[in-house]
């Protein structure tokens, strides 16, 4: 077994020196302030998500016009952004559909062409859920649609 030298050391904790002794755990007063700030921000979430969906639609259009590595990467970033953010913005179903789309784009080999019809099925689902402002996860039709999209992506991806 080849051995390499290992250096293990603890740098000075400059952050602790700045932060002071503090509560030693969660600063609940600060958490409460931040949760109140988030409540105020929530009125903007629908508009923010609309912007992100617009970016996704534009990325889909560019990929359709010129399907190359750059437009594919843009499409993946747009889907991935929505996957991460839609739940924060109180649209968990959109997060799920965007997760399915980013899984398809990310996991299909670069050499494989992305099926536009399945991309569009995802983008259209996101548009409908957003337009109808479905913020809960109880809608049976929407859930069935999510399940179907997941299954279609499963079929497509290499086993």
């Amino acid at each position: 077994m080849k051995r390499e030298p290992i250096e293990l050391f603890m740098p000075p904790n400059m952050l602790k020196a700045k932060a002071g002794s503090g509560p030693g755990g969660l600063d609940m007063a600060a958490v409460k302030r931040a949760e109140q700030a988030m409540e105020t921000l929530k009125s903007e979430f629908a508009d923010w998500l609309a912007d992100d969906v617009g970016v996704l639609v534009a990325a889909r259009t560019r990929y359709g016009q010129q399907p190359d590595a750059a437009t594919r990467a843009s499409l993946l970033r747009a889907a991935h952004d929505i996957k991460g953010q839609a739940a924060t913005f109180n649209y968990p179903l959109i997060a799920r559909v965007a997760g399915s789309l980013s899984r398809m784009i990310g996991d299909l080999p670069e050499s494989a062409t992305l099926p536009l019809s399945l991309i569009d099925a995802h983008v259209n689902a996101i548009l409908v859920i957003h337009k109808q402002a479905m913020q809960d996860t109880g809608d049976k039709i929407a859930l069935a649609l999510c399940t179907e999209l997941d299954a279609r992506v499963d079929e497509l991806l290499p086993k």
């Binding site: 080849k2 290992i6 250096e7 293990l8 952050l15 932060a19 503090g22 921000l41």
Partner: protein, 170 residues
């Protein structure tokens, strides 16, 4: 008990999505952070790092151009890095175990899987304040120690000596 002096922190927020930057900066401001720098890509973040030398970096993973992983490697290993020890909190939609491992191997300190919550952001900040990990330098890695806990019963070869892949090959 009084709270942390977050007002003394300089925090750099790196995300190519303006809404996520606003969300994170809103949370940090409510915590009390005053000096917040924003960068929309890795190149701008690198410039700010060298100009402002922040105390903490909160960054997205997937960005156009330089990714958060590449930026973290630069912070840790580039000779021009102003602070190779700066705590990096990665905020990302990547949630698979192998993603966490890749981020850890790049040298991040803490990982937040989206959706973002106030409590998680506070937990990660407290982690870098109260429970900093030692740093490790080997031929293949420089960054925070990748072991969360010591395993007193482990009797195998030294796992820090190289990457897991290399050890498996050996």
């Amino acid at each position: 008990m009084s709270g942390y002096r977050f007002d003394r922190f300089k925090v750099l927020v790196v995300d190519d999505n303006i809404h996520m930057r606003k969300l994170v900066t809103t949370i940090l401001q409510a915590f009390g952070v005053i000096q917040i720098y924003e960068a929309e890509n890795g190149d701008r973040a690198w410039a700010i790092l060298r100009e402002a030398n922040p105390d903490v970096v909160v960054m997205d993973w997937m960005m156009e151009g330089m990714s958060g992983i590449e930026l973290t490697r630069m912070i840790r290993t580039n000779p021009q890095s102003p602070n190779p020890f700066v705590p990096v909190i990665m905020l990302t939609g990547h949630t698979l175990i192998e993603d966490v491992a890749e981020a850890r191997d790049a040298g991040i300190n803490e990982f937040i899987a989206k959706p973002v919550s106030v409590k998680t952001m506070m937990q990660r900040l407290v982690a870098v304040i109260e429970h900093p990990r030692p740093y490790v330098r080997t031929g293949a890695y420089f960054g925070p120690c990748r072991r969360r806990r010591g395993d007193a019963d482990y009797r195998g070869p030294e796992r820090r000596s190289a990457s897991a892949t290399q050890q498996a090959a050996e």
